[in-house]
């Protein structure tokens, strides 16, 4: 009986797919006919007919894009990156727990009395404040944190440390789940996922540099203090990279123009660190 039901369902599904494919084929063929006919007329009505053909042809992809956008705008954005550091778990953990001056995109970290921290990130001159709170910590295996909600952006994440195989040091895995409150922000966050992944990788590379060599690689010609005393004549300021530009677009979207974007910490939840 079950077999018969499955067979009927399978036949129905196949029949639906065939009809759908046939419909798409007919739509594409009619669109092509309209475009060719319209263009061959070489007059205004012809142009309108051709435009109608293009409209029919674009209907399917537009509908699919719209459905995908709707789906994405209801999902959180997952950003993750991993790196292997030739140092012990404890050494890496200690570097991560003293993040002041470590991350390229973070201008300052303010520790607060309530145990949370306010991170100021400057993107193309615009300060972005993000408040974070550590929810659970298991030295030296990792920690979990939450980004505070001000109605604009919320999220949580985890840093996990494991011994790398073959005595290669420590594996660091960072996962962040962003849950922007507005649908447009969610879409923007999805669009920026690759750029955010690379930015996160860059920050982990700096963790590795500091843990392995005791310093962070820099191509600067001079220190900031020296630079203030002596203005370079041949070099120009670094141009904005694509990932920075994308990040800026995200901030712009979030703040509806230049200004300060604030995201604050909210609640603390108990989460076990995965092993």
């Amino acid at each position: 009986m079950v077999c018969i039901a499955e067979k009927v369902m399978h036949t129905t599904t196949s029949s639906r797919e065939t009809n759908h494919q046939l419909g798409r084929l007919l739509a594409t063929a009619s669109a092509a006919v309209l475009v060719v006919y319209g263009l061959r007329r070489r007059d205004l009505p012809g142009a309108l007919v051709a435009a109608a053909g293009v409209g029919i042809a674009a209907r399917g992809p537009m509908k699919r894009a719209s459905q995908r956008a709707k789906q994405l705008s209801s999902e959180p954005t997952h950003i993750k990156a991993a790196i292997t550091v030739r140092s012990s778990l404890t050494e890496v953990f200690d570097v991560l727990r003293s993040p002041e001056g470590l991350f390229e995109s973070v201008e300052s970290i303010e520790r607060r009395e309530d145990g949370s921290t306010r991170w100021t990130v400057r993107l193309k001159g615009i300060p972005l404040h993000v408040d974070a709170r550590i929810e659970s910590e298991q030295r030296p295996r990792g920690l979990r944190f939450r980004l505070q909600d001000t109605g604009l952006l919320q999220g949580h994440g985890a840093v996990e440390l494991r011994p790398a195989p073959g005595e290669q040091g420590t594996e660091i895995r960072v996962r962040i789940e962003l849950e922007p409150s507005r649908a447009r922000l969610r879409l923007a966050a999805h669009a920026l996922r690759k750029a955010a992944h690379l930015a996160l990788f860059n920050e982990l590379a700096r963790v590795r540099q500091l843990a392995e060599t005791g310093e962070i690689a820099s191509s600067a010609m001079r220190t900031l203090e020296d630079a203030e005393q002596q203005e370079p004549q041949g070099r120009r300021p670094r141009e904005t990279r694509e990932d920075e530009a994308l990040a800026f677009a995200f901030v712009d979207e979030a703040s509806q123009g230049p200004g300060v974007v604030e995201v604050a910490v909210v609640e603390v939840i108990e989460v076990e660190i995965e092993r």
Binding site: F201, E215, Q233, R238
Partner: protein, 388 residues
């Protein structure tokens, strides 16, 4: 200070820029005594390397005197005469410990850019794009050298600068290219491209027991230089490379092939026109003529060694031939620190003298002319050495 700055395709200028300073505790500042234009600098000059920015200081072959050190520099000190390798290595990461110095994990500040472009980051390189770190180069009066203890090779004797300058890049690069061929007695080595690295590959090849070294190019003075150095030469404008190699090796093909040309190969015929058209339209980044020929010519089970620089994507690669013949590929930036000291010993003992390459000596202020003459092979130009 004066430095040679990149401003765009075929536009390099000597400008006055701010002096470098100590940024990190393991830095040193080197006052440059000699610097050279590398064949790979021509890829920057011709605009084929991405992520260059206007005002970037060029140059990765240089040596000089240490004039300042950071507080954690121990092995070298102010007043030392040093040769600096083009690749910057930390000496502490997994790759440095495995002597894969040019794959260093920790010296590219733009690691994410390299991750996006190449899948992972290698070592930072002086004066060679922001993809590879954005470091200011050595065609300048002064250079900031990160991880000075790891990179700087101290020259203790009073040997002439020009004899040791090429330890900064092309001599170790040529040596590694030959060593990668896994040389055995009686083998035949073929080298495509007789620029500085190709010429030194002929020289380094003589340190091993090759039965024959075959050198391929189309520039008469370069062919003559290789012939004088003991190579059998093929002028690609006058002879068909594959047929001649077949003839010279009695149908076996060379046991090892070195592509010392890289991404801007000059070929002939339809394939060359196709490559040039695709590269100019940015449908491929590199013209791999020499690499294709090397793969096709190489003996079954042989090695193709590629010290020539490739930057991105290549088209029409005869990978079927490579697979069918079971070839081994060896490539990549040179693991400089592995070779510098042993090669310095050979140079000091007089067993190697790379100065025969130098055809042009100029002041740094004439560097733009040096680039043009080197690129256009004017006036028999093979290697330009600059003095700040």
């Amino acid at each position: 200070m004066k430095a040679l700055c990149w401003y765009g395709k075929e536009d390099v200028r000597v400008e006055t820029v701010a002096d470098p300073g100590i940024v990190n505790p393991k830095d040193a500042i080197v006052r440059v005594s000699r610097t050279a234009i590398c064949g790979s600098d021509l890829h920057l000059y011709d605009g084929y390397i991405p992520t260059m920015q206007r005002g970037d200081i060029l140059g990765h072959e240089f040596m000089g005197e240490i004039v300042e050190t950071g507080r954690d520099v121990r092995r070298v000190s102010v007043g030392d005469r040093v040769v600096v390798p083009f690749a910057i290595s930390c000496g502490r990461c997994e790759y440095c410990r495995r002597e894969l110095w040019s794959l260093c994990d920790n010296t590219n500040p733009n690691a994410a850019l390299a991750k996006a472009g190449y899948g992972d980051t290698g070592a930072g390189i002086f004066g060679y794009s922001h993809l590879l770190g954005g470091y200011a180069g050595g065609q300048a009066e002064y250079v900031r050298v990160p991880f000075a203890d790891v990179g700087c090779l101290k020259i203790e004797s009073d040997i002439n600068d020009e004899k040791v300058l090429f330890l900064s890049d092309i001599l170790p690069t040529a040596y590694q290219a030959v060593e990668q061929c896994q040389p055995r007695k009686g083998q035949v080595l073929a080298i495509w491209g007789l620029g500085p690295v190709g010429q030194l590959a002929v020289t380094c090849g003589k340190l091993f027991d090759f039965d024959q070294i075959i050198a391929i190019d189309d520039v008469p003075e370069r062919l003559e230089m290789a012939r004088e150095n003991g190579a059998t030469v093929i002028n690609m404008r006058e002879e068909k490379i594959l047929e001649t190699l077949d003839d010279l090796t009695a149908g076996r093909g060379p046991d090892a092939c070195i592509d010392a040309v890289g991404m801007e190969a000059h070929g002939t015929g339809v394939t060359n026109a196709y490559d040039r058209a695709k590269q100019s339209l940015r449908l491929q980044t590199d013209r791999p003529t020499a690499l294709r020929e090397a793969i096709f010519a190489c003996r079954k089970g042989g090695v193709v060694s590629a010290p020539g620089v490739y930057g991105g994507f290549i088209d029409k690669m005869p990978f079927g031939a490579a697979f069918a013949k079971g070839l081994t590929f060896k490539m990549g930036q040179t693991h400089m620190h592995r070779y510098m000291k042993p090669l310095l010993d050979l140079v000091t003992r007089g067993e190697l003298n790379p100065t025969f390459l130098i055809t042009h000596r100029m002041r740094l202020s004439d560097a733009p002319r040096g680039y043009k003459e080197f690129r256009d092979k004017q006036d028999g130009c093979i290697k330009v050495v600059l003095q700040p």
